[in-house]
Amino acid sequence: MLELIWLIPLIPLCSSLLLMLTAGRLPRLLIGYLGVGSVGIAALLTLAAGIHFMANPEPFELTLWTWMQVGNFAPGVAFYFDGLTLVMMSVITGVGFLIHLFSTEFMEKDTSYARYFAYLNMFVAAMLILVMADNLLLLYLGWEGVGVCSYLLVGFWYQNSANGQSARKAFIVTRIGDTAMALGLFLLFTELGTLDIQGMVAMANETWQVGDSIPLIACLLLLGGAVGKSAQLPLHTWLPDAMAGPTPVSALIHAATMVTAGVYLIARTHGLFLLAPTAMMVVAIIGIATSLMAAFTALMQSDIKRILAYSTISQIGYMFLALGVGAWTAGIFHLMTHAFFKALLFLGSGAIIHCLHHEHNIFKMGGLRRKMPVTFWSFMIGSAALAALPMTSGFFSKDQILLEAYQLPGMGPWLWLGGLLGALLTAIYSFRLVFVVFFGKANTEPDRDTGWRMAVPLTVLCALSLIGGYFIIPVEAVFPAASGEHPAHWVEYVSISVPLIGLLLAYLIFHSRQLRVDGLVGSRVGQLLRRFWFSGWGIDWLYDRLFVRPYYELSGMLKSEPVDVIYGLIVAINQTLNQWLSEAQTGRMRWYIASMVFGLVVLISLALQISPEVL
């Protein structure tokens, strides 16, 4: 049965190719069936493979063919199927299917319906190849594939040039990380002679000691790729702008799957990272810094999708924190629950945007509680899970991350404190969103409620966000076992109570308005901080000054080709001389003779001057 897993990426790929080649000439209904159905079948096959795997949880390898043979480098088109792969595939196909279904209603009126599903199916295929790949080269193929699909889908409404700008930004910024990752692959291949993940990790453990410098460099280069793809500091600036794409795309690519590819990469090569404790420390610090930075920024945004985008950056920061402290299972667990509740929140915001004439500003919404009940409850549950309120899925995963971070010797408690602050902010900004959008008085009237194709995915994701925390992911064979110790009880109590405090604060500030913050916000320092956080800590501004503008200026200078000026000078001199000399060409014979005589006289007298002895 597991021999058939190659069908899972192939079916969406075929559907994508079919949609591309027919170029939108198929009837709309058929496009919908193809786009959603292919991912649906992939999801069913994943389910079947999962049932099989649960019965006999042994890693399974499947080599289809040798991709290329260059010397002793022979990467195969080969899949590796274990618990981690299964979790990732379930998220991709399961959540992907729900988002595809949602899209059929969201994109109903769009003229490029077929193009949309072609890209989306292609994305699912590439993402599946990424997580199923047996070697790093095939993984890189999927990695670049999802990058291209992300680019195409962010710039999906390309008629607006701002969207094209965002798409290019997303592509170029992630490309910086990808370059680092490619260098990492080169280094690993030259050092170990293979890119096969399992073999490579085994060989690395034989070749290198913990703390050697080569695994450190390799890990940092791989981390560069992960940081770019997962929108972590310092390469996170593309994700908020990537919200220019259709909202279901943001849900699928920029929340649930592609942006977590970096987390998957690090988890997949954890054997290598264990050899480089410094690299793991860097991962943890990047995670916590990104998480706090993004949480503060999310608190200030007014565009509903930007809030969610920064919240995604922040939550992936938690996953990085988990990876950095060695809480592999918790990190992957948070990846899964985050996929559920963030997809839910994005689809919910998509429903609002769809029904509210493409309104993005949360302060122009309000009072939607009664008019859009399904969306309201989706947001309630999604925000509760995001804020990690007890008994929701987010609670189980985030709590586990914080507890394991606390147990890290040395920096542990500090990381834990940072994580707690992040959790507090998460609770405040997520319930700020709920209170501003769904309570208070209505500012814009929705012209419709969600249809069944929107309501069903929302409901299913609601259920998953609630009960997802009780799932047990089959990765204990993949990762080294956790310590199993439990820290003091007070640590746990604090972790549980912080989100509740955040919820209370959000209620007091944004709903009942008993807690007045106008004075605080209105003060000079408050205004400055507000602007600083609103702009995302000025990082975009900084990059603009540091890289974008100097680049434009340099290219502006080179546009006129300064080197050509030298050659232009030679041409000008020649032309001037030519003009002068052609003046002398009068056609008057007697002038020629006279000048010849004159010249001869001069030459002869010169010759006599130099050597008078000829006389």
Binding site: S582, Q585, T586, G587, R588, M589, R590, I593, A594, V597
Partner: protein, 104 residues
């Protein structure tokens, strides 16, 4: 050898004078026939210098070159007069300055 014994310097002076006259004519005359005649004068001045030098050194080469110059001058006159005829035919004048169609 009997006869007038003219010093070489005098002959060379005459030759130079002839050359200068020819060159001056070349520069100031506009009529194409006079230009040809001036050329002839210049050629003959050179020939005179050769003959005188040959006689002075007692060498036959001067005579030989004189014969060569005579031939060249004859050929030159033949071509030159042909050109003069053509110029007269096309421009209806023998003024060199009116035949300057080739100005650059």
């Amino acid at each position: 050898m009997e006869g007038l014994n003219v010093p070489l310097n005098h002959i060379l002076l005459v030759s130079s004078l002839l050359f200068a006259i020819g060159m001056l004519g070349l520069m100031i005359r506009r009529n194409i026939i006079f230009i040809l005649m001036s050329l002839e004068v210049m050629l003959n001045s050179a020939a005179l210098a050769f003959v005188a030098a040959g006689a002075h050194w007692g060498q036959p080469d001067g005579q030989v070159v004189f014969m060569l110059i005579l031939t060249v001058a004859a050929a030159e006159v033949a071509v030159g007069l042909g050109l003069v005829l053509q110029v007269q035919k096309r421009f209806k004048t023998l003024d060199m300055d009116h035949a300057n169609r080739m100005r650059g």
